[in-house]
């Protein structure tokens, strides 16, 4: 049997290669944009950071999409489904490796932000000192503690949202794949069209659930009272619970119905 660690290594490597390509293109785009700004004479101290931050949005979207594509491919390819490991192990390692890929992309973006912030490092330091001074002398009790709890909660919430999105995409993909086995060959094209519509509707449905939850949290986000912080954590647990349910469904489909593409 293949160990969890060996499987993780094998599934993570190609995802990190994808991320490296995205980051390389990101860096090239940043450099080219900076050169263009110099050519136009518009380059200011904060321009590199502004450009890097704005490109990070695209990097996040592209990274998410390519991670999803790679993950879904694993579930229907012989190369991975023939590995001597249970479907539960393959599913969880696949999800974890995508998550590692996203974390890796996040770290590279932070590194790029730090590099891009070098031109106005002095200003940044001054701002940080000011904020630190305000925090230390704040008359609000537990301000620092609450700030830390909110930050950790927000990170956990973002992780839970990402995992739920991946779990939803996988469940929709595997459901569609399993259902195609029960259709006559002649209706496949029609069914696939219907399936795409269902995928989009299901995606919007899941997205609206997440949005409602997050909205509920965000409405009170800056109030900094204990209940709001707790609501971030409740929302995270809710999303993770939903993710777990979807994962059980996906593993069942993998075990009994989803074949590899022959």
């Amino acid at each position: 049997m293949t160990s969890f660690y060996d499987l993780l290594k094998s599934l993570t490597r190609p995802k990190l290669r994808i991320m490296n390509r995205i980051v390389l293109i990101d860096v090239i785009a940043i450099v080219l944009t900076l050169i263009y700004q110099v050519y136009r004479g518009d380059l200011e101290t904060d321009t590199p950071l502004a450009i890097t931050l704005s490109y990070s949005v695209f990097v996040a979207i592209v990274a998410f999409v390519l991670m999803s594509r790679n993950s879904e491919h694993i579930f229907v390819s012989d190369a991975y489904r023939l590995i001597p490991a249970s479907d539960t192990k393959l599913y969880s390692v696949n999800l974890l490796s995508s998550f590692i890929g996203m974390v890796y992309a996040g770290i590279t973006q932070v590194v790029l932000w730090v590099i891009a912030a070098i031109p106005f490092w002095g200003d940044f330091g001054a701002q940080f000192k000011k904020m630190f001074h305000y925090t230390m002398n704040s008359d609000k009790q537990n301000f620092v503690r609450n700030m830390i709890l909110v930050t950790i909660g927000a990170i956990l919430l973002a992780i839970a949202m990402t995992l739920l999105l991946w779990a939803s995409i996988t469940l929709i993909h595997l459901t569609g794949d399993a259902l195609t086995a029960f259709l006559p060959d002649s209706r496949q094209k029609f069914f696939r069209f219907v399936l795409y519509v269902v995928v989009i509707v299901a995606f919007l449905y899941v997205f609206s659930i997440i949005e409602n939850r997050v909205d509920g949290v965000m409405n009170h986000f800056f109030n900094m009272n204990g209940d709001t912080i707790a609501s971030i954590y409740y929302a995270t647990i809710y999303l993770l619970g939903f993710t777990a349910l979807e994962s059980v469904g996906s593993v069942y489909l993998l075990k009994h119905w989803v074949e590899t593409d022959s």
């Binding site: 094998s10 694993i74 012989d78 190369a79 259709l183 590899t260």
Partner: protein
């Protein structure tokens, strides 16, 4: 002798089409078995069901005494395991993947075979010719130390000289107790290494005979026996 593969009452349908019906098959330890049948007969499907990558069948498939899918996968090396790699992936990366995910993969055995098969590890998958890709598949599949090797039409793109050499070498690359189930169109070329022949016809196992029996009883070669069955002149006892 113990059976390495035991299939009982296997039925498989897909898209409202029956592909395999009431398949019963036992393959003894250590045998090299030719799985023969015309295109679309269900040879590949049968192999995919044995390997656990085709789903939704009724009946039972036991491999090396186990019917749990992960355990069966440990006991089987299937030639389809290259499907799904990125075409831009280099061969050395694929070998690294095999080393990681298959605890029974022997790099030493692979290197010996790669030398014999003249596989260039620096190339990408997309740069390989059909024949070279098939050589790689054979090398990777047989470099695992498993109880069952499933080779689905592995020689189609390989030139006839290399094909003969590879077919003759297969015997020395497998351990004594391992089963090889091989499907191929070149019946006459693989006939010399076969211990048994399984013919798939009319969605089921139509005949299972030992190669020796075919040769002695019917005084015909395996290829002729196979053709006579498909032409409807089956010689039966």
């Amino acid at each position: 002798m113990t059976n390495t593969i035991e299939i009982k009452n296997l039925n498989y349908r897909r898209n409202y089409r029956s592909i395999l019906e009431d398949v019963n098959l036992n393959i003894e330890m250590g045998k090299i078995v030719g799985l023969l049948g015309e295109n679309g007969a269900g040879k590949t499907t049968l192999m995919r069901l044995i390997a656990g990558v085709a789903k939704g069948a009724s009946g039972s498939i036991t491999v090396a005494g186990t019917d749990g899918v992960p355990d069966k996968k440990s006991a089987i090396s299937f030639s389809e395991q290259l499907n799904g790699f990125n075409p831009s992936m280099r061969i050395d990366k694929i070998i690294r993947f095999y080393e990681d995910v298959y605890p029974d993969f022997s790099t030493k055995k692979y290197n010996e075979m790669a030398g014999f098969l003249q596989i260039d590890e620096g190339l990408r998958l997309s740069a390989l010719s059909k024949g070279m890709k098939e050589k790689l598949i054979i090398g990777l599949t047989l470099s695992r130390d498993t109880k069952v090797y499933l080779l689905d039409e592995p020689f189609g793109g390989i030139d006839s000289m290399s094909r003969k050499k590879i077919i003759q070498s297969i015997i020395k690359w497998k351990s004594d107790d391992a089963v090889i189930l091989v499907s191929d169109h070149y019946v006459s070329e693989i006939a010399s290494i076969l211990d048994e022949v399984v013919i798939i016809k009319d969605r089921t196992v139509y005949a299972q005979k030992s190669a020796e029996e075919i040769r002695s009883k019917y005084a015909e070669g395996i290829e002729h026996y196979y053709e006579s069955i498909y032409e409807g002149n089956d010689i039966d006892d």
